[in-house]
């Protein structure tokens, strides 16, 4: 897991509800044999005009948000398709954190595994944060996973809580599979008992 302790930088306000993963990266860009280059397809249909030219009005095509590292969104961000290309495209563009009142559950899990910290804050706090940044959008916002605090250039502080295990894995850059492998004895014991209780799980079609 890519380590993340603290991120400071430009926050892009995209305060819309139900931004689904088809918007984050349309399905046609998933037909590929490498995971490199996903960043160029981030929000492709919004970021481009019908003829394929960049849409000059799209937020992330404008200064200072071309260099944004934090995304502000409204509820249910990342709903829909499970595509992991969504957090990967965000990460490859440069994002390290998404702040929203709630997230699609699969996307939420996928974020941690791709170096993105999803932060849950109340929508009123997100709106206040966006309003504060409006006159000076290039000012950096800080998301600190160690202290679980979002701090604004004007000194506002918004506390959040990250899931304990994911927090530890991001802070230390731990390998999730390696962590599970430390439970090898318990996994074996479970399966030995389960194989008696539910044999059809392991002896398939017999």
């Amino acid at each position: 897991m890519e380590q993340l302790r603290k991120v400071t930088g430009v926050a892009a306000p995209m305060l819309r509800i139900n931004i689904d993963t088809d918007q984050i990266i349309p399905a046609r860009f998933l037909v590929r044999i490498t995971e490199e280059g996903l960043g160029a397809s981030l929000f492709y249909n919004w970021a481009h005009l019908p003829d394929g030219a960049p849409n000059p009005e799209f937020l992330l095509n404008r200064q200072p948000w071309t260099g944004a590292v934090i995304l502000l969104a409204d509820r249910n961000f990342g709903c829909g398709s499970s595509r992991e290309a969504a957090p990967r495209a965000l990460r490859q563009f440069g994002f390290r954190s998404v702040i929203a009142p709630s997230f699609g559950g699969i996307f939420y899990n996928n974020c941690f595994r791709n170096g993105i910290l999803p932060v849950q804050l109340d929508i009123d706090h997100i709106k206040a944060l966006a309003a504060e940044l409006e006159p000076t959008p290039a000012q950096g916002v800080t998301v600190d996973l160690e202290t679980e605090m979002v701090s604004t250039p004007g000194g506002q502080r918004y506390a959040f809580t990250a899931p304990r295990l994911m927090r530890r894995m991001l802070l230390e850059g731990l390998d999730e599979v390696a962590l599970t492998e430390t439970f090898g004895a318990q996994i074996k014991e479970f399966r030995d008992q389960d194989g008696v209780r539910r044999p059809w799980v392991y002896h398939i079609g017999e």
Binding site: L15, R16, I17, N18, D20, D22, Q23, P26, A27, R28, L30, V31, R32, I33, E35, N45, P50, D74, R75, N76, C79, G80, S81, S82, R83, E84, S102, F103, G104, G105, I106, N109, N110, R113, N114, I123, P163, R164, L165, E176, V177, L179, T180, E181, F183, Q186, I187, F190, R191, D194, R197, R198, P199, W200, V201, Y202, H203, I204, G205, E206
Partner: protein
């Protein structure tokens, strides 16, 4: 915080709590558990990423016999397709890469040309791979579909897939529980698709975040397994990762004799266990919702979220109908994208395309429902009509009944099985068009750039194909001759 890992065996429990605790291996703290995963399904779109990254990590599959793979997402569905035919050259390469890796790893594989090939969530219950009480995951959000046979099934990311392949387990936060009881009875001509669309309209596209949802009540008990599959398919459309119907006698009857279901004594043993799984009387849920179905109408979506749904004879809402600022902005944007005005009727609106397919509504009963309307009728001039059966078996069964002829004579294209135009994985046939569709997502661009999707049941899509305008299937004039 309350921990639920130590359970008093005597207290009433929900289906979800029983199945979760039967997969519990270890407590990782903060409500996160290490769970046994009984079945992993891979497909060439997300599964190819999982396999490639597993190989790069130098790890090997832990339980290859419990892993199944299928080619469905980017394969061509053109009649007479070849084994390597993707939607484009890259898709073809993905198919071949997946095939090589899956065969090398020894997973059970339903390749192009195999009579068992089809959309993963159609194939998985059809072959008895999904079973009651199993944990089943796939890098695909619609994995919740097979909750309909009483499995705990959910969509995961491709990196979570690596974890499952390498360890046979997954680290998951235990969700809250919700029960949605459908009371009354469905009126004639109203389907499971209408029911679930109406539910999403009521609960909102985010209403299920953090919940595992049990569907209950007389309406669900009366549903066939295929209707339950349609219902559970769209749990993720209100952001519930898990949706399920606890197993009953219908479930057992449906599964008995299927290729990967237990046989003989093992079957009896399994059924005995499965009978213990339904929610106990008196068990409590974190949230309960009851919906009376007796006045339900056919539904159609007007906007760009599955929550943008209405009775088929209703009118498009206005942004000011919504008190919530976020919802209002979304409605404004949806009206613009869909090129609609508040107050318009959807019924009577011309469509360019009628599409029947996807893991939502492309099983045999769906094709029969559509064919019942198409028989003796023709698709309206100028409407592109496409049917993509949910699996190769569904296609063969439909052909054995002569349904293919009904579709073709009406003017539909009759395709090979696959995910096809539910998403836009390479092909651009629906670009800029207005589509009435049996699929599950009407997101902007979901079916292609600037494609405007309206979700509905197979009967409504068939009636609309014939009329050329959005049509209530109960009001279609009688077929000629």
């Amino acid at each position: 915080m309350e921990r639920t890992t130590e359970i008093d065996a005597l207290s009433p429990r929900t289906f979800f709590e029983k199945v979760w605790s039967d997969h519990f291996i270890a407590d990782l703290g903060d409500n996160t558990h290490l769970l046994q995963i009984d079945r992993l399904f891979l497909h060439e779109l997300s599964g190819s990423v999982t396999i490639r990254e597993l190989q790069e990590s130098k790890r090997v599959p832990n339980s290859p016999k419990q892993v199944f793979a299928v080619i469905d997402h980017v394969v061509s569905t053109a009649p007479g397709r070849g084994p390597n035919d993707g939607r484009n050259a890259t898709a073809s390469e993905m198919i071949q890469q997946t095939r090589r890796a899956v065969n090398a790893m020894g997973f059970t594989f339903f390749d192009v040309g195999d009579p068992r090939q089809g959309i993963v969530h159609v194939v998985s219950p059809e072959l008895g791979i999904a079973l009651p009480g199993l944990s089943l995951v796939c890098g695909d959000s619609h994995t919740c579909t097979v909750g309909a046979i009483g499995a705990l099934a959910w969509g995961i990311g491709s990196t979570e897939g690596i974890h499952v392949l390498a360890t046979g387990t997954l680290q998951q936060v235990k969700p809250k529980t919700m029960r949605i009881t459908f009371a009354g009875a469905l009126p004639a001509g109203v389907t499971a698709k209408d029911l679930v669309l109406s539910l999403i309209g009521r609960i909102g596209a985010n209403g299920g975040i953090g919940y595992a949802v049990e569907f209950a009540g007389p309406v669900v008990r009366a549903m066939s397994i295929e209707e339950r599959l349609t219902l559970c398919n769209m749990a993720i459309e209100f952001s519930a990762k898990y949706g399920f119907v606890p197993p009953d006698e219908k479930t057992f009857e449906y599964l008995h004799g299927r290729e990967f279901a237990p046989k003989g004594v093992a079957w009896d043993h399994a059924v005995e266990y499965w009978r213990s799984l339904p929610t106990d009387a008196g068990a409590t849920f974190d949230r309960e919702l009851t919906i009376d179905c007796s006045t339900l109408q056919p539904q159609v979506t007007w906007g760009t979220s599955p929550q943008h749904v209405m009775n088929i004879d209703g009118t498009v809402p206005a942004p000011e109908d919504f008190s919530d600022a976020g919802a209002r902005t979304l409605v404004e944007r949806a009206l613009e994208y869909q090129r609609l005005q508040p107050g318009m009727s959807i019924a009577g609106m011309p469509v360019d395309v009628a599409y029947i397919g996807a893991c939502t509504n492309a099983r045999l009963s769906d094709l029969r429902n559509a064919a019942a309307i198409l028989r003796g009728r023709k698709v309206a001039q100028g409407v592109l009509a496409i049917c993509v059966p949910g699996s190769t078996k569904v296609k063969a069964d439909a052909e054995a009944e002569g349904l293919d002829k009904v579709f073709i004579e009406a003017g539909f294209e009759w395709h090979e099985s696959g995910c096809a135009m539910c998403g836009n994985g390479g092909a651009q046939r629906l670009q800029d068009l207005r589509v009435i569709s049996t699929t599950n997502r009407n997101f902007e661009g979901r079916q292609g750039p600037r494609t405007r999707t309206h979700l509905a049941s197979p009967a409504t899509v068939a009636a609309t194909a014939v009329a050329g305008v959005v049509t209530d299937p109960r009001r279609l004039p009688p077929a000629k001759g």
